[in-house]
Symmetry: C2
């Protein structure tokens, strides 16, 4: 899995930081997470093939998380997308998209599969690459984060067994398909003979926007990468309480409690030109933290 | 009057060109014309004081002309605008804005005066600086351009008369206020003695989007500056017909027929990386033409 940050500003764009959006690539299948205004520009800037996006996940309906959606959809249509796009969001996003299309007499020429979630943890999306579960968060309006789990083959090949049985590449391919193969020594071999149960999985959780709460910690336990919003510094904690956002220190506390491997902090307030103090504050609580800087890609 | 180009791409952003938007400054009072996605970013880039915008004019409800509006309005509100904003547009833009606010539980904390126009030429807006008249255009949906006329004082002072009557600055100020003044020679003087009728006016028309038509030529005759869309080159004329847009040559023909002083062409198709051929084509018909390049300001 690869995560590219397209926007990590909070409510308003500033200092060349833009509203929330991220692109998650799982086995080269693309998923867009939130779609603030100008996401289309970032997609162009970073030369992302927008019509390869399979599904878009919108965490909540504050404008800085979805105002870029309608422009992206109409441009996908102009660029002759035909494949179905899944849009996962809270209720009524469809109403907004449809009203805009109706009034502007715009026809989106590909099917959209709208999937609406409510404020509960539930497997909301699955395909051959990934499964996505909602993470109920605590914000001013209904908001869910998303836990992405990369699917893996059930079994993985043991290298030493290939050497032991002197298997060719085409024989291995047959075994993976589920067929039985006779090797050069006449032995009948099956997939179970050369493989073990695949326990590898990769997990990424997106938690924005939310005030810090222990309620969602069990849903993000032991994951590989956590993106947690970190709108404010601890010194502006009162502002975080008023607006139901988190501080850098709280984001790090969530990472520590959930025992995640790595933390990314983002959704930075316009009041901070310099982001280093946010990073320093988080690192005091959880060392393996990085800033979600726009254009940066993180391997998971 | 000063016109700054914020975006001059047609339907989709490309080559660092952005959807339609322009800022017109009349005596330092700001008017925004169209508001494609990302207009807020351009306003930030060019350090424009967004809360000084008095009125926003939306020519039609295709997305590349208004998708940036909701983000601008919510940001104006967050930045504590209190003054009324006038929004001039075709019918039902208000429905879109209100639905988005309702679903996202967003309150815009300043009054909006929605003014809706229909497909006719009419004085639609006036304040102490400018008068705006709609220009019915010919596009796929109801669309009007806008003719901005800068208001001027009714009379202007004749310099030689000031010398003749030996008037001081404070005496001139009194005369302008409408008072009678006795000069150093005891003569009783009024404003009419030192001024003549002011025939100075400045006019700017915005014509986008439209196919070329003689129908709107009388409404833009003899103006100082015409912005006319020029989506295509003449060699792509069939595409212009299909999409109800104009070619560079047609934009220039409109300028020639209307006998305007200067032409700006914009709303460039994504198919042209190099804009010089559009300029060359227009100049063959109307010499005093310039490209509406983003960030450029034109004095009127």
């Amino acid at each position: 899995m690869r995560l590219t940050i397209l926007g990590s500003s909070s409510a308003t764009p500033i200092y060349d930081r833009h509203p929330s959006s991220q692109l998650l690539s799982v086995n080269d299948h693309l998923y867009l997470i939130d779609c603030g205004e100008g996401t289309l520009f970032r997609i162009n800037d970073f030369k992302i093939k927008k019509n390869k996006i399979i599904a878009i996940f919108i965490s909540h309906l504050h404008g800085d998380h979805f105002y870029g959606l309608i422009g992206l959809l109409t441009t996908m249509s102009m660029h002759e997308r035909t494949e179905t796009l899944t849009i996962v969001s809270p209720a009524r996003l469809k109403d907004i998209i449809q009203l805009q299309c109706e009034i502007s007499k715009t026809i989106i020429r590909f099917p959209i599969n709208y999937v609406e979630f409510s404020q509960e943890s539930k497997e909301i999306y699955t395909d051959s690459n990934a499964t996505v579960t909602t993470i109920p968060l605590e914000h001013k309006i209904d908001t869910c984060g998303f836990l992405f789990s990369k699917k893996h083959a059930d079994r993985k090949v043991i290298k030493s067994k290939i050497e032991e049985y002197k298997l060719t590449n085409s024989e291995i391919a047959e075994l993976i398909k589920g067929n039985t193969v006779q090797n050069s020594e006449g032995k009948s071999i099956q997939m179970s003979d050369i493989s073990e149960k695949n326990l590898d999985t990769k997990t990424f959780a997106y938690c924005s926007d939310t005030q810090f709460s222990k309620s969602y910690i069990p849903l993000i336990s032991n994951i590989d990468l956590l993106y947690h919003e970190s709108t404010f510094l601890q010194k502006d904690k009162n502002r975080a309480i008023d607006t139901k956002h988190s501080t850098a220190s709280e984001a790090a506390e969530a990472a520590r409690l959930a025992n995640v491997k790595k933390l990314l902090i983002g959704h930075f307030s316009a009041r901070y030109l310099d982001l280093e103090p946010l990073l320093e504050e988080a690192k005091l609580v959880f060392e393996n933290t990085e800033l979600a800087l726009e254009g940066k890609t993180f391997l998971i």
